[in-house]
C-alpha cells in the first residue's frame, strides 16, 4: 500500500458516534483515574500508531490543537500524513507548544516537565500526553489515590517513562499546573490526571 492510501484509509466508520464513544470512555477514565475503560478498535491508523491512540487523536484533535509526535512516530511519514489528513491538526515544533503529545515509546520519552505545564492563571493550557502502552495489567503496579478514586485504585502499565513515580510526584507538586496522561493500550485505556497521587510502586 502506498503512503497516500495508508494516510487516507482507517478513519472512523461513523465519525459522529465513534468520536462520542471514544470521548465518553476517555471522560470516564479521566473522572475515575486507574479505572480501565474498554475501547474497541474504531480507527485503523498506520503503524506504529495504535488503534486506541489513533481513535483518541480523531476524537480530540483538530486544527486548534498542535500535536507533537515522539521520534518513533515522527520517523514514519504515513503517521504524520494520516493525522493531518483526518484531524487537520498542525504539528507542534517543540513539546512545549503541544496541546497533545503522542508517544509511541514512553520508556525513552523526554521528561514530563518539558511539555507545556499551563500557567498559574490558565492551568488548562497544558499538554495532554497520550502514551502508547502494551498492557495495563502486567507492569509494575501503581497504587493510586486522589479525586475520582473512592479509596485506592491500582494499575500496572508496562513500559512507563523512566523514573516515572518521581517525575509524577513533581508533576503533582506543580498543581494546578501540570500534564495529564492518557494511557492507550490495545483495546483499553486509563487516565492519570494531574490530581492523581501514586502511593507506592512495587517492583
Amino acid at each position: 500500500m502506498d503512503i497516500a492510501t495508508r494516510s487516507i484509509e482507517g478513519g472512523f466508520a461513523e465519525p459522529v458516534f465513534n468520536a462520542q464513544t471514544v470521548f465518553r470512555a476517555t471522560m470516564d477514565a479521566m473522572a475515575r483515574p486507574g479505572s480501565i475503560q474498554a475501547l474497541p478498535p474504531l480507527a485503523h491508523p498506520p503503524a506504529p500508531l495504535s488503534a486506541t491512540a489513533g481513535a483518541m487523536a480523531l476524537a480530540l484533535c483538530d486544527n486548534d490543537t498542535p500535536v507533537w509526535l515522539d521520534p518513533r512516530l515522527q520517523a514514519e511519514a504515513s503517521v504524520k500524513a494520516w493525522l493531518s489528513f483526518h484531524t487537520g491538526a498542525p504539528s507542534a515544533n517543540t513539546p512545549a507548544d503541544a496541546h497533545f503529545a503522542i508517544v509511541a515509546n514512553p520508556a525513552e520519552m523526554a521528561a514530563l516537565d518539558g511539555f507545556s505545564q499551563g500557567t498559574q492563571e490558565y492551568p488548562d493550557r497544558s499538554t495532554t500526553l497520550i502514551l502508547l502502552i502494551d498492557d495495563l495489567a502486567s507492569g509494575p503496579s501503581l497504587q493510586l489515590e486522589g479525586p475520582g478514586i473512592e479509596k485506592t485504585a491500582m494499575i500496572a502499565p508496562v513500559g512507563m517513562p523512566r523514573h516515572f513515580v518521581e517525575q509524577w510526584k513533581q508533576n503533582n507538586q506543580r498543581f494546578p499546573r501540570g500534564v495529564d496522561i492518557i494511557l492507550a493500550a490495545p483495546g483499553s485505556l486509563a487516565c492519570l490526571p494531574r490530581t492523581t497521587r501514586i502511593k507506592t510502586m512495587e517492583a
Partner: protein, 303 residues
C-alpha cells in the same frame, strides 16, 4: 421516510457540529483534571436564550450518546418549562430516551437542584450555571479574580461570610454557597440551595458545570472533597424545615413553598417532583395529599 426522520436529519446528532463538540470535550477533560477550576471555552449560540441553560445544554450535547437516558430538572421539577423544553430538545436532536426517574437516568441535566435520590457511579450530573465565578460580586474584574484563583487568595470570600455574621448573626447565604474543592479552588456550586452542598461531597457521580453566557466549564470528579466554607464558631449548616412535605410527608428533603390562596394559605412540598411522586406511589400521604392514586410517568423509549 417519515416526517420525523427528516426533522432529525436536518441537524448533526445532538445539534452541535463536531468541531464544537471536540472543543467542549477537551474543556471537560481539563475541567475534570483540575477540579473546581473554570476552563474557558468558546460557547456557541444555542436555539434558546442565555439564562435558559445554554451552558448545560452544550455540555450535555457534547457528552450524550444514543444509548444514554436523559433526565432534566428545573428546581427539582421534571415538569416545569425549562425542563420540559430541554428534554424535548434532546429528544428531537439526539433521539435519546428520556425519563423522569432519577435512578434510570445516565445523564441528569439540572437547574439548581441535586435530586434527593442518591446518585450512583456512572451517572453524570450536568449543572446549568449563570455566574460561574464565586468572587465576581466581590471583585468585578476578570483579570483580578483569575489572579486570586492563581494565588489561592480567598480572604475576600471569608470577609464576605464574616460580614454576614456581623450583620445577621449567622451566615445568611442560602444558595450558591461557596465550596472549596480538594483544598484548592473555591467554586460556585451554581445557585443550588445550600441544602444540596453536602450531596456534592464525595458524590459517586461525575458533576459537570456549564456556563454558556460566561463561557466557562468546570467539573467535580466523583469522590472529591467538596467543603462548604465556614468558621469554627459558625459551622456550615443546611436549611431545616419544621414540617414535612404536605403531599408525601417526606422529611429531610428540600421543600418549596406553594401559595394556595390570597388569604395567606400555603403549603410546603418536595421540590424534587420525582422523589415526591415515588413516595406517594409507595403509599406515603402528607396532610394535604389527595387520596387518588397518581399515574407515574414512565420512561419514554427512543423512537
Amino acid at each position: 421516510m417519515t416526517a420525523r426522520e427528516t426533522e432529525i436529519a436536518t441537524y448533526n446528532f445532538a445539534y452541535l457540529d463536531e468541531q464544537t463538540k471536540r472543543m467542549i470535550r477537551r474543556a471537560i477533560l481539563k475541567g475534570i483534571a483540575i477540579p473546581g477550576y473554570q476552563v474557558p471555552f468558546a460557547s456557541r449560540e444555542m436555539p434558546m436564550p442565555y439564562g435558559w441553560g445554554t451552558g448545560g445544554v452544550q455540555v450535555t450535547a457534547s457528552i450524550i450518546g444514543p444509548d444514554d437516558v436523559l433526565k432534566v430538572i428545573d428546581q427539582g421539577a421534571d415538569d416545569t418549562t425549562n425542563a420540559v423544553s430541554i428534554r424535548a430538545f434532546f429528544k428531537k436532536v439526539a433521539n435519546v430516551a428520556v425519563t423522569t426517574e432519577t435512578a434510570k437516568a445516565t445523564i441528569i441535566q439540572t437547574r439548581h437542584r441535586i435530586p434527593e435520590h442518591p446518585l450512583n457511579t456512572g451517572q453524570v450530573l450536568v449543572f446549568q450555571v449563570p455566574i460561574p465565578e464565586p468572587l465576581r460580586f466581590l471583585e468585578p474584574r476578570e483579570t483580578e479574580t483569575r489572579k486570586m484563583h492563581a494565588l489561592e487568595e480567598y480572604g475576600l470570600m471569608h470577609v464576605k461570610l464574616y460580614e454576614d455574621i456581623a450583620r445577621h448573626g449567622r451566615i445568611a447565604t442560602t444558595y450558591a454557597y461557596p465550596v472549596k474543592i480538594e483544598g484548592r479552588y473555591v467554586m460556585d456550586p451554581s445557585p443550588t440551595p445550600k441544602f444540596d452542598n453536602p450531596k456534592m461531597h464525595r458524590s459517586p457521580a461525575l458533576q459537570l458545570f456549564g456556563a454558556g453566557r460566561e463561557k466557562r466549564i468546570y467539573a467535580v470528579p466523583p469522590f472529591t472533597e467538596v467543603v462548604s466554607l465556614d468558621f469554627e464558631d459558625h459551622p456550615f449548616e443546611v436549611q431545616t424545615f419544621d414540617q414535612p412535605c404536605a403531599l408525601c410527608a417526606a422529611e429531610n428533603v428540600h421543600l418549596d413553598e406553594v401559595i394556595l390562596d390570597d388569604h395567606g394559605g400555603h403549603m410546603f412540598v418536595c421540590s424534587d417532583t420525582d422523589h415526591c411522586e415515588k413516595r406517594r406511589a409507595d403509599g406515603h400521604r402528607g396532610s394535604l395529599a389527595p387520596e387518588t392514586h397518581l399515574a407515574l410517568e414512565k420512561t419514554e423509549p427512543a423512537q
